[in-house]
Amino acid sequence: MARLNLWRWAVLAFAGVYFLVPLAASVIFTVDVPGEGITFDAYGEIVGADGFLPGLVLSLELGAATIAVVLLLMVPAMVALRLGAPRLRPIVEVICSLPLVVPPIAFVAGISTVLKWGPEHLSRTPLFQTFVAIQNPDFPVVLVLAYVVMALPFVHRALDAGLRAIDVRTLVEAARSCGASPVQALVTAVLPNLRGALLNASFLTLALVLGEFTVAQILGYQPFAVWIYSVGGSQAQLSVAVSVLSLLVTWALLLALAGLGGRSRTAPRG
C-alpha cells in the first residue's frame, strides 16, 4: 500500500510541475524584465495597446453573432428531432460531426477558394455584392459562417445531453393543450428547462471564437487571437501578459459554467 501511494504522489508531483511551471514562468516573464527589475508595466500597457480593443471587440461581436446563429439553427432542429422525424436524427448527427473530419486549415483553404470566385467569375452578377458584403472588414460575416460550422459538434453534443435529461414531448404537449402555439411552447416550456445546456453550448462557442486563430488569420482579419500573434514578434512581454490574462478569463468562464451547470441541474428537483 505504501508503494502504491509513493507511485501516486510521484505522478501527481510530476503533473503539478509540468502544468504549473509554464504558468508561473509566464507570470515571472512578464513582471521580471531583464535590466528593469520587477515591473507590472506589461499589464498596464494592455488596454492602451494598439489594436487590442478593436481586436477584442471584434472577437466578442463575432462570438455573440455566432452564438445567436448557431442556437437559432440548432435548438428548433434538435427539439423537432426529439418530437418526431426519427429518421432525420442520424443524418443531423452525421452532419454535425462532419466539421470534426475537416481540420480548420483545410476548411479555410476551401473557403478562400470560394471567396476567390467572387472577383474571378461573378463580378457581373448580383451575387458579387453578397461576396463583398460578407467580407466587410468591420464585421466579416464569413467568419461567423465558418465559426457556426466549427461550433456545430460542440453545440450538438451539449444540446443532445440537455434534451436527453428532459421529457420534451410531455412538456410540449402540456403547453399545446393549454393553448400555446408551437413557438410559445418552445420558448416558455422547453427553453427554460434547457437553460444549463444552452449556457454550456454558448460558453463553448464563445471559448471557440475567442481563441480561434486559423480561419481569421488566413482570411486576413484581426480579431483577438490574431492580434496577440501580431504583437508577439515585437512586444514579447505584452503578448505573454495577454496570454496569461486570456487563460485566466477562460478559466473564470469555465468555472462559472461549472457552477451554473451544477445549480441548474439541481434546481428543477428542489
Partner: protein, 298 residues
C-alpha cells in the same frame, strides 16, 4: 360545417400526429440549408480545386491528379510525414501519461483532488492556440525564464524543434486524455479486482487480464482522438516554430497565401484533401471504438 366539426372531434390523434411531423422537417431545413452553403460549398470547392489545374497562359482549367501527386512528393510529403510523426508521438505519450494521471486521481481518497484535476483538465484541454505557444516561449524559449536561469541553451536545448513541439502539445493533450479516460477508469468495478485477487491473481495479472482489456477500446479511442487533435493543430505551431519544423498545416497556410511559390493554391487544396482523408480515417477508427467502450461503462 357539422361534418368538419365531427371529423376533428373523432380523430384528434391523427391530426396531432400530422401537425407534429410537418414541423419536424421544417425546423431541420434551415440547419441543412446553412450547412450546405457554409460547409458544403467550401468542401466541394476544395475537392474540385484539388483535382484541377489552371493553365496560367490560357486561363483554361483541366482535370488532373497532378496536384495530389505533388502533395505526396518533396517538401509537401516531408511535411505530411512530419505532421503524422509529431501527432503520433505526442498522442502516444499523452495517452500513457494521461492514463497514469487519471488513475492516480481516480483511486485517490481525496474527492477535492479529483474535482480540481478534472476541472483543470477541462480548462487546459481548451487552452491551445497562440496563448499556449507564448506561455511556452516565455518558459522555455530562447529568452525564456527556465532557459535563462538553468542555462539550457548551452546544453543544446531548443523549443523550436520537434521535441519542443511535443512538450507543448502534451500541455493540452494530457488533460484531453484525462477527460476521455476517467469515465472508463470509473467503470472498472472494484469487484473485478477483488474477484481477481480472490482467485489468486497478482496486481500485474489483474491489469494484464482484466484491467487493460476492458480499458483498451477507451485507450485506443482516446489515442485516436488526441492524434486528430494534434494533427489539426495550426495556431500553436505557427506562433511558435514558424516553419523550422515541417508540418502539413504550416505548408497549407504558406501555399494558400502564396508565401513561398505563386500558383500553389491548388496543391494546398490537395494537401487539405490529404488531411481530410487522414482525419476521416481517424474518425472511422474512433467511432466504433467509442461505441464498444460505452458498452462497459453503461
Amino acid at each position: 360545417m357539422t361534418a368538419t366539426l365531427t371529423r376533428v372531434d373523432v380523430a384528434p390523434a391523427a391530426s396531432v400526429k400530422r401537425r407534429r411531423r410537418a414541423p419536424g422537417w421544417l425546423a431541420v431545413l434551415p440547419l441543412l440549408a446553412f450547412v450546405a452553403v457554409a460547409f458544403g460549398v467550401p468542401a466541394l470547392a476544395m475537392l474540385n480545386g484539388a483535382f484541377t489545374v489552371k493553365d496560367q497562359a490560357t486561363g483554361a482549367t483541366s482535370y488532373t491528379t497532378a496536384n495530389l501527386t505533388d502533395s505526396l512528393q518533396g517538401a509537401y510529403f516531408t511535411a505530411l510525414i512530419g505532421s503524422v510523426k509529431l501527432s503520433a508521438v505526442s498522442a502516444l505519450l499523452a495517452t500513457v501519461l494521461g492514463l497514469l494521471l487519471a488513475q492516480a486521481v481516480v483511486t485517490s481518497r481525496f474527492r477535492a483532488l479529483r474535482e480540481a484535476v478534472l476541472t483543470a483538465s477541462g480548462v487546459l484541454a481548451n487552452f491551445g492556440g497562440v496563448p499556449l505557444a507564448f506561455a511556452f516561449v516565455a518558459t522555455l524559449g530562447n529568452s525564456g525564464v527556465l532557459t535563462r536561469h538553468l542555462g539550457l541553451t548551452d546544453k543544446g536545448w531548443s523549443l523550436y524543434s520537434f521535441w519542443g513541439l511535443v512538450i507543448v502539445y502534451l500541455y493540452f493533450l494530457i488533460p484531453l486524455m484525462v477527460l476521455t479516460i476517467t469515465p472508463a477508469l470509473d467503470g472498472l468495478r472494484s469487484q473485478w479486482r477483488e474477484a481477481a485477487r480472490n482467485n489468486g491473481a497478482t496486481n500485474v495479472q489483474y491489469w494484464q487480464h482484466v484491467g487493460l482489456p476492458v480499458l483498451l477500446p477507451s485507450l485506443l479511442g482516446g489515442f485516436v482522438l488526441l492524434f486528430g487533435s494534434a494533427f489539426a493543430a495550426y495556431a500553436t505551431a505557427a506562433a511558435m516554430v514558424g516553419s523550422s519544423v515541417p508540418l502539413v498545416t504550416l505548408q497549407i497556410a504558406d501555399a494558400i497565401s502564396g508565401n513561398v511559390l505563386v500558383g500553389q493554391e491548388n496543391v494546398a487544396l490537395a494537401l487539405s484533401l490529404d488531411m481530410v482523408l487522414i482525419a476521416g480515417l481517424v474518425m472511422a477508427v474512433y467511432l466504433p471504438l467509442q461505441r464498444r467502450s460505452a458498452r462497459w461503462l453503461a
